[in-house]
């Protein structure tokens, strides 16, 4: 299992469109991926789950993955949310 803490830098946080892109990315990996905020963990491949966490800019989340391509998945997803755009 690979996990990494990251502070979300996306200006609008992980809402609607960025969340959709995030989930799309997560779905490209076979690894089971999860996002955790304030002790609540959701499936990173589920857009509703991600949106239910209401992740805003500046908040810290944990991205976790388990599976053959877990490492790449975590790396890529962390990269996505730490971009400032």
């Amino acid at each position: 299992m690979v996990e990494q803490k990251v502070v979300v830098r996306l200006r609008s946080g992980l809402l609607a469109r960025p969340a959709a892109l995030f989930v799309q990315e997560a779905n490209r990996y076979t690894a089971e991926t999860f996002v955790e905020k304030d002790g609540k963990s959701v499936n990173a491949k589920s857009i509703m789950g991600i949106m239910s966490l209401a992740i805003g800019p500046g908040q810290e989340i944990t991205i976790r993955a388990e599976g053959s391509d877990a490492e790449q998945a975590v790396k890529k997803l962390v990269e996505m949310v730490s971009k400032e755009e």
């Binding site: 779905n27 959701v42 491949k45 589920s46 857009i47 509703m48 789950g49 239910s52 209401a54």
Partner: protein
């Protein structure tokens, strides 16, 4: 669970506005600090909400002012005390307000009589402090049975949910289901507030089941009675053909009846879920088709032997 949520949701009033309403409530128990006010603080359950009724306030009123100040100072000095609640619409004494305000301890009032206040608060806390987990799945009410559909991403959980709504059943939550253990063996599921009545269908996006299908198509929460797990059909797995063995899945320490349904294009999952719900009801009513069938089979073989 903070004091602010308690105040907002039960419509209580606050006596000292500057107090720290972010204090956390960690236990459902409530304490009436009669003995503490009498000066006995050993084993004082400071982490509980402290409820002052008429008895406590009248006891305070007849106390020597210096003694009173000292005990109220002690009562308010615990950082883990979430708040003090004063019942019956009484006005808390000024000394109490001063001491509490100095410590940032909220003093809250309610018009309810003391025992009623205690039961309302603890019922509320029991529901809110119940163990909780978030599960990736769809919760639907099918013929009155709460069915949690689980399975990996893209297997067709939401599509099955949609088909069930079209068939007159009700959606509780799509994709993310909050499950709370409200009793020893009882789990109740609901949608995260942000996602209430929403459903996501690939290709269509986010839909609102309530505005699309009406109020009859949704519910806010439902007891979870069984789990249906969808998984991609694999030829090397032996799927249950008889239904004699009962499988269970454990969620928050509660074992729920569970079935695994293999998914293959062309299988009408909504019908299968509907039938699973009806079969579950039948079993609870005492009729178990699979066992009944094996019993008949056994009898047929016995009769054959006699000939």
């Amino acid at each position: 669970m903070t004091v602010r949520e308690l105040v907002d949701e039960l419509g209580l009033n606050i006596f000292n506005a500057g107090a720290d309403l972010t204090r956390r409530i960690t236990t459902v128990d409530i304490n009436r600090p009669g003995l503490a006010l009498a000066g006995y603080f050993r084993h004082h359950p400071a982490e509980r909400i402290q409820l002052l009724g008429r008895t406590e306030l009248s006891f305070l009123a007849v106390m020597d002012p210096r003694e009173q100040a000292r005990r109220l100072f002690a009562l308010c000095s615990y950082e883990q005390t979430p708040c003090i609640v004063v019942s019956r619409g009484q006005q808390p004494p000024d000394v109490l307000l001063e001491e509490a305000t100095a410590r940032g301890l909220p003093v809250i009032g309610t018009a309810m009589v003391t025992t009623r206040a205690a039961s309302v608060i603890s019922t509320f806390l029991e529901a809110r402090l119940a163990p909780e987990t978030l599960i990736h799945g769809v919760l639907v009410d099918v013929y009155g049975i709460g069915i949690l559909i689980t399975g990996s991403s893209g297997i067709g959980k939401s599509e099955t949910g949609l088909e069930l709504i079209k068939r007159g059943h009700r959606l509780v939550a799509d994709d993310a289901v909050i499950i709370r253990q409200v009793g020893e063996d009882t789990l109740v599921g609901s949608a995260p507030p942000l996602l209430r009545y929403l459903l996501e269908i690939r290709g269509l996006g986010v839909l609102n089941a309530m505005t699309l299908f009406g109020a009859g198509a949704v519910r806010t929460h439902k007891k979870v009675s069984m789990v249906i797990h969808l998984e991609a059909w694999r030829d090397d797995v032996a799927y249950d053909r008889l239904g004699i063995d009962e499988h269970t899945q454990r969620i928050l320490g509660v074992d729920l009846p569970a079935v695994t349904i293999p998914v293959r294009p062309g299988r009408n999952l909504a019908v299968i879920v509907e039938v699973a719900a009806m079969n579950y009801r039948l079993k609870r009513m005492g009729y178990h088709a699979a066992l009944e069938f094996t019993e008949q089979l056994r009898r047929a073989i016995d009769e054959h032997d006699d000939l």
